[in-house]
């Protein structure tokens, strides 16, 4: 079966709705299926569960929280990644905090789906953000699937999870298609995926950048053996798998579509430096600090992390001279 990313999201929603009557979907233009993931859901599940909302993001997000607190399992589809800024209060200050603040009385099983996060060519400053790092920082469970199979599996797990989860479906990953010969199944949150095994350097790539990392790895092989590590979930992050990867490679490059300061790449570098095996200083490729993506395509692309920078960084860390270990052993751990 040929499966597109958007179709995978659509399948995940369809299966979740069919399986659990508590699942419902809120969002703008979802009845018409404008963004893709909700196509045909209204016909099949009706307006009682597929709720086309007025343009009131704060109210319908709060409403979904109220519904989640009282037995429903709502999914909200957001049309624009920046709409998440409007509902930061609802997601971070309300949904995320209910469980602790009520001493465990309440859970908020709410899923927020952003189909088309990050740069969308030609949409300029207010439609091109990729704020997954903000949610990971706030402690909201955050996933960024790179492939159709993972999009299906992670969205299913997000909907089944008892806590709020934000699912970013990067615009640049939406054109990805897979020939699927396996059964689609939930992918547990918090588990990374090694897309390509390697021994020289670990490249941690987030979302659509996994595909760039795979391209660079293919290009550099066999001279450089690159391990492509896709965290899939940014919070909770699969630190165990990263530590194991660095045991093998000892070298780390992160490619991450966040702003540089306080981005998820910064956290990966910090944790690796503090706790894991690094033979040489790690590198990260990110958006610049405080990025506002400009409109003109060449300007937009100039600020996004890309393959050329990744290739340079990989070559740089592998050629980086190791301090000569006495007795032929690594001392730098």
């Amino acid at each position: 079966m040929r499966l597109s990313y958007t179709k995978a999201l659509n399948r995940a929603l369809t299966d979740a709705l069919a399986e659990d009557p508590a699942v419902c979907v809120f969002g703008e233009d979802i009845g018409a299926g404008l963004a893709g993931p909700t196509l045909n859901l209204l016909d099949r599940f009706g307006p009682g569960r597929i709720v086309d909302t007025p343009l009131s993001e704060q109210a319908f997000t709060s409403m979904a929280i109220g519904a989640a607190l009282t037995g429903r399992r709502p999914v909200i589809e957001f049309q624009i990644p920046s709409l998440l800024f409007l509902v930061f209060e609802q997601l971070v200050n309300q949904a995320h905090k209910f469980s602790l603040m009520t001493g465990g009385q309440a859970a908020v099983p709410l899923t927020c789906l952003v189909p088309g996060s990050g740069s969308r060519d030609g949409w300029a400053g207010q439609h091109s953000d990729h704020p997954y790092g903000l949610f990971a920082h706030a402690g909201v469970k955050t996933v960024v699937p790179a492939t159709p199979t993972d999009a299906y599996g992670l969205l299913r797990s997000a909907i089944a999870d008892p806590d709020p989860v934000v699912v970013f479906a990067p615009a640049a990953a939406l054109p990805v298609r897979e020939t699927v010969t396996w059964e689609l199944a939930p992918v547990p949150l918090g588990s990374a995926r090694i897309h390509r095994a390697g021994t020289d350097v670990t490249v941690v790539a987030v979302g659509h950048l996994v595909h760039d990392a795979l391209a660079v790895a293919a290009e550099l092989a066999p001279e450089v053996s690159v391990e492509v590590f896709d965290p899939r979930t940014l919070h909770p992050f699969d630190w165990t798998a990263l530590a194991a990867s660095l045991e093998r490679t000892g070298r780390l490059v992160v490619i991450d579509d966040s702003n540089r300061s306080c981005g998820i790449g910064a956290e990966v570098l910090a944790t690796a430096a503090e706790e894991m095996r690094l033979l040489v200083p790690p590198r990260r490729i990110t958006r610049p600090d405080g990025t506002v993506l400009p409109f003109a395509p060449a300007l937009d692309r100039a600020l996004q992390p890309g393959r050329d920078q990744l290739r340079d960084a990989v070559l740089d860390v592998v050629k980086h001279r190791l301090p000569v270990p006495p007795h032929g052993e690594d001392r730098i751990r």
């Binding site: 007025p54 009131s56 109220g66």
Partner: protein, 330 residues
């Protein structure tokens, strides 16, 4: 009156007792703030009791409420155990929220109390969601959103009026207009009128004497009946007044945003004597004594309760038991 369920608001006696319980609870809390046993202070509900009691008297146990930073009255009137609410204010393990929420987040989901809320206006749309949820589940449950006059200027609340009205949801919006948002007079903050705003969305809106428990109850019962039979949302503006400061901190300041005469005038409308006047002679005194006894027991229970262990400070952060990484590397 010991064989009488202290949470039953079905009679004038039950309602009077609840008014007294809230008043007494707040006085007890004020004392514990002053003595330093409650940290962070509280937003006292004293003066506004008729609103919580009148509205909750119109509710069924299955109905739900969302509350505010000034929430003790709502939480008690919906049936929460005063001992456990007090323990929560004191940050004890036996508190409603196991000491994790405090005054501004007190909740008891088993009683449909979806929580006090520290963000002005936030509870409104959450209640709308609870109402939607009940309808989805095919359950006859009304949701009540309590909020102050200050919340009338929160966009999310106005958005939620629209959703509730469009979808004819079983929700009752209860605006407790106590004249001020902290120090800001409602008269200088709210263009048009509270009821006019609700009416603009097609929501039946009434202005009620919020110092009169029976008037509030009558108006609320009508709105609850309408909501629960498919008639959609309702809105009550309850004109009321807080006798104390906005927050206990205010006692330490010399603020002059309202005159002593104004406070005295409103104290003259105290809802408690008005409710007592409806009772047979001697009953109010007996109910007062029973409340006093209940609160003495609550105080003993709460102060004797254990403090939560610091090792569990991040317990319940995630409903699935996920443990966050510690703040320092192992």
């Amino acid at each position: 009156m010991t064989d009488h369920d202290p949470r039953d608001l079905g009679s004038p006696a039950g309602r009077y007792r609840m008014l007294r319980l809230i008043r007494g609870f707040e006085e007890l809390a004020l004392g514990l703030v002053r003595s330093g046993e409650i940290t962070g202070g509280v937003h006292p509900y004293i003066g506004q009791e008729a609103v919580a009691v009148g509205v909750c008297a119109a509710l069924r146990p299955r109905d739900r409420i969302t509350s505010t930073h000034r929430g003790h009255g709502h939480v008690l009137a919906k049936g929460a155990d005063p001992s456990r609410l007090l323990a929560e204010l004191l940050g004890r393990s036996t508190g409603l929220n196991r000491g994790r929420g405090g005054s501004m987040h007190a909740a008891d989901f088993s009683l449909g109390i979806l929580g006090a809320n520290g963000m002005v206006g936030a509870g409104g749309a959450i209640a709308v969601g609870a109402a939607w949820s009940a309808r989805q589940a095919g359950e006859d449950r009304v949701a009540v959103a309590f909020f102050g006059d200050g919340a009338l200027n929160q966009g999310v609340l106005l958005e939620s009026f629209n959703l509730a009205a469009m979808w004819r949801l079983p929700v009752l919006f209860v605006c407790e207009n106590n004249g001020y948002a902290t120090t800001l007079p409602a008269a200088t903050a709210v263009a048009g009128s509270a009821t006019g705003r609700a009416a603009a969305f097609g929501i039946p809106a009434a202005e009620v004497d919020g110092m009169d428990t029976e008037a509030v109850r009558t108006a609320a019962a009508e709105a609850v009946e309408r909501a629960s039979t498919g008639g959609g949302p309702g809105f009550l503006e309850c004109r009321t007044y807080r006798f104390e400061g906005h927050h206990t901190m205010e006692r330490l300041m010399k603020l002059r945003y309202r005159t002593p005469e104004e406070v005295a005038d409103w104290r003259g409308l105290d809802p408690l004597p008005r409710a007592a006047a409806l009772l047979p002679p001697g009953l109010a005194e007996r109910l007062d004594a029973s409340v006093e006894q209940q609160l003495r027991a609550a105080r003993e229970f709460a102060l004797a309760s254990e403090h939560p262990s610091p090792a569990g400070a991040s317990d319940h952060l995630y409903a699935d038991g996920l443990r966050p990484r510690a703040g320092s590397a192992a």
